[in-house]
Amino acid sequence: MLTMLTLAFLVTGFSNQSNAQLTGQQIMEKVYYNPSGDDTQGKLSMTLTNNRGEERVRTLTQYIKDDGKVEKKIMYFLSPADVRNTSFMNWSYTDGRGDDQWIYLPALKRTRRISSDGKSDYFMGSDFTYDDLGDRHPNQDSHKLLREETIDGQACYVVESTPKEDDYMYSKTITWVMKDNFLGLKREFYDDRDRLLKVLSIKDFKKIDGFWTILETEMHNVQRDHKTIMKFTDVKKNKGIPESRFTERSMTLGG
C-alpha cells in the first residue's frame, strides 16, 4: 500500500499514436504505461473537510524512486504536531509480491515493519484509500469505452472499469481520460451496491521536468459529503534520489 501519491493512473505523457479505434483496455494501458519519471520528490498537503465544513490539514514530504522492478517511497510527516517526525517507507514490487512497509515513530525510537494488507484503508484519515493512490494494473479490471464527451473544455474518453476480483472494494470505476494527453481528469468510484461513492477530480496539472504531473486533486465522498484536497508543491522529477534515501538511517534522521 501507499503506492499512492503517485496517482499513477492519472499521470501520463503525450501519445502520438492514432487514437481512432482505441478500446477501453488500450486507453487504460496508455494511461498506465506513460512515463512519470524515475524519481519524484516534493511536498504534499492534505486538507480534510467534513460535512460541517471543518478542516484538518496534514503535510508531509515524500521521495519516490522506481527502477522498474521496485518502487520505493518514503514520507516524512511534518504536521499535525503529534505525528511530526514520523516517517513511513513502502517498497512495492512488480513481481506480485506484497508491499513491504515500515514506520518510524520518534516517540518509540525505532523503525518497525508493519503488515501491509490494508489497501482499502484510508490514508491518514483522508478520503483516499491506499489503493486509490496506487498503481493498479489495467489487467486487474475489465474496461469498456462508454462514450466520448467534453468536460471542463477537455475532450475525453469515458471508460468503465470493472474489477476481475470478487472482493474488491469498488463494484466499478468510471474514468474520464483526456484525449490529447491521456491524462485522467476525473474518476467516479461505485460502492459494492453499485451506488456512487466518491468522485476524484483533477484541479491542476502541468509538465514538470518533462513529465505531466498532478498538482492538485480533490476526492469527494458524496455519500458522507466529506472531501480531501491534495496539493503537491516543490515537485521535482529525475533528480537522481540516492538509494540511501530509502533506508532505516534515512527514516530515523527525517526529511
Binding site: 515493519r113 490494508g118 538511517r249
Partner: protein, 412 residues
C-alpha cells in the same frame, strides 16, 4: 530538585525561546494533564500529573542537537524537572556518532523488554505510562556504521543508571514479604562512576524485502538490584531475630536476536535473549544470602494482522531459568501473553484500543481499554482504565489498584 532551581530553569527557557527561534532551533512539545482515580476503596486519586515536555532541535547536514527537558507537576505540589534526552549528533558519510543522554531501544517485542536492555526503566507507575516515558535516557556514546540496508551499532555507557523503582509507600511498590521487618544496608547499592564500571552494547541490524533482523550483545549491570538477605538467628531459641537486606547490582552478559517477516498479510515477529549472571531470590535454607546465580532465556513470538480495519497483535513470551532448582522464588518457566486490538473511526479522529497482559502462571492479567478522541489537530482527549485481574503475580499483586483515568494532551 529545588523549586527555585526549577523556576529559574523555566524562566531561562522562556527567555531564550525567541533567540532560539531566530537560530532556527525547532521547538516542539506537548502539555498534558493526566488524572487517575482508583476505583476501589475511597476512590483516591492515584495520580494527578501535569506535564510540560519540550524538544529543542537544531539540524544541519552534518550536525544536529536535541534537548528534551520535561516538567512534571503532581497534585501534592511536587515538581520534577528532568531531561529525557540531550545529545549531539555528528554525521559522516558512512557513520553517525551520538554523544549525550539518549534513549536506545532494541528488539521487535511490543510492551515487553527482552533484548531491550540498554535504556533502564522508570517503573514508578509500573508499566502504565507511555513507553517513551518508561524508558530513561542514559549517558552514552553511540556509533552507527551503515552499509546498504544494514547497520552496526556500538554503545559505550560510562555511567550506570538503575531502574527507577516506586518510592516506599507507593501503591506501585512491588510486594516483598518478609517474616519480620528488615533492615536495609545500602552500602553496595551504588555503582561507582569509574571507567571499569562502563556498560557496552553491540548490535547488527538489517532491513530487507524478506525480513528484518537484529543480533545484539551486551555486557552491563543488571538494572534491578539483587536483594541479598542476611538472617540473624538467636542460637538459644533458633528464632529469627533480624533480617538485613542489602541491594546490589551485578554484571550481566546478554546475547540475543530478533526478527520480523511478512507471511502474506500477517507479520511474524520473534525475539530471544540469553542472559548470563542473573541472581534470583531463593528460599533454600542452606544458601546464606537467599540468592542464587542462574542463566536464563527470555523469548517471544508474535503475530500482527489487520482484520476488517482492526489492527490485531498477539505475543507469547516466556522466561526460562536454566539449571533450575527447587527453592528459587521465580517459576522455572514463566509465560505471559499480550493482546492488542486497535481501530480508528471518524477518519482517524476516534481511536478504540484494548491492550492486555495475561500472566499464565498466576492466572493474573492487566487489561487496558482506552478511547481517544482528537478534538482538533494535535489536541487529544483520552479515557481509559487499568484493570488488574488475580491476586498475585506480576499483575495480580496490584489487584487493589484498578483505576480509570483521563489524559488531555496538546501537542505543538
Amino acid at each position: 530538585m529545588k523549586i527555585q532551581t526549577i523556576i529559574a530553569t523555566l524562566l531561562a527557557l522562556i527567555l531564550l525561546t525567541p533567540a532560539m527561534a531566530q537560530e532556527n532551533i525547532d521547538i516542539t512539545g506537548y502539555a498534558r494533564n493526566y488524572t487517575g482515580v482508583l476505583t476501589g476503596g475511597n476512590n483516591d486519586f492515584s495520580i494527578i500529573q501535569n506535564t510540560f515536555d519540550l524538544k529543542f532541535e537544531k539540524n544541519s547536514d552534518k550536525i544536529s542537537l536535541k534537548v528534551n527537558p520535561y516538567l512534571n507537576h503532581y497534585f501534592d505540589s511536587d515538581l520534577e524537572l528532568g531531561l529525557r534526552e540531550a545529545f549531539l549528533d555528528m554525521r559522516f558519510d558512512k557513520f553517525d556518532l551520538r554523544i549525550g543522554k539518549q534513549q536506545i531501544i532494541y528488539g521487535k517485542a511490543e510492551g515487553v523488554f527482552i533484548t531491550d536492555a540498554v535504556s533502564p526503566k522508570d517503573l514508578r507507575e509500573f508499566l502504565l505510562p507511555d513507553f517513551n516515558e518508561i524508558r530513561m535516557g542514559i549517558t552514552a556514546a553511540k556509533v552507527n556504521y551503515y552499509f546498504g540496508n544494514s547497520t552496526i551499532e556500538a554503545v559505550w555507557a560510562p555511567i550506570f543508571t538503575p531502574t527507577q523503582m516506586p518510592d516506599e509507600g507507593s501503591i506501585w511498590r512491588p510486594s516483598m514479604i518478609f517474616p519480620i521487618t528488615p533492615t536495609y544496608d545500602y552500602s553496595t547499592a551504588e555503582i561507582d562512576p569509574q571507567l571499569e564500571n562502563s556498560e557496552f552494547f553491540l548490535r547488527f541490524s538489517s532491513m530487507g524485502s524478506r525480513a528484518d533482523f537484529e543480533v545484539v550483545g551486551g555486557y552491563f549491570w543488571d538494572d534491578d538490584p539483587t536483594m541479598h538477605i542476611t538472617k540473624e538467628i538467636d542460637p538459644a531459641t533458633m528464632q529469627l531475630t533480624g533480617l538485613t537486606v542489602r541491594p546490589e547490582h551485578h554484571r550481566l552478559a546478554m546475547g540475543g536476536a530478533s526478527f520480523s517477516t511478512p507471511l502474506g498479510p500477517t507479520l511474524l515477529r520473534g525475539e530471544g535473549g540469553y542472559y548470563s549472571g542473573k541472581y534470583f531470590q531463593t528460599e533454600t535454607p542452606t544458601i546464606s544470602d537467599a540468592t542464587i546465580k542462574r542463566d536464563y532465556l527470555h523469548y517471544m513470538v508474535g503475530l500482527d494482522y489487520t482484520l476488517a480495519g482492526v489492527m490485531l497483535s498477539g505475543q507469547f513470551i516466556q522466561e526460562n531459568i536454566l539449571d533450575y532448582e527447587q527453592g528459587i522464588r521465580n517459576d522455572e518457566v514463566e509465560s505471559t501473553i499480550t493482546f492488542l486490538a486497535k481501530k480508528d473511526f471518524l477518519r482517524e479522529k476516534l481511536w478504540l484500543e484494548l491492550f492486555t497482559y495475561i500472566g499464565v502462571n498466576n492466572e493474573d492479567a492487566l487489561i487496558r481499554p482506552k478511547i481517544s478522541y482528537a478534538f482538533a489537530d494535535g489536541f487529544d482527549v483520552q479515557f481509559g482504565a487499568n484493570i488488574f485481574v488475580g491476586d498475585k503475580g506480576r499483575f495480580g499483586q496490584y489487584y487493589a489498584n484498578d483505576m480509570i483515568y483521563t489524559k488531555i494532551k496538546y501537542s505543538f
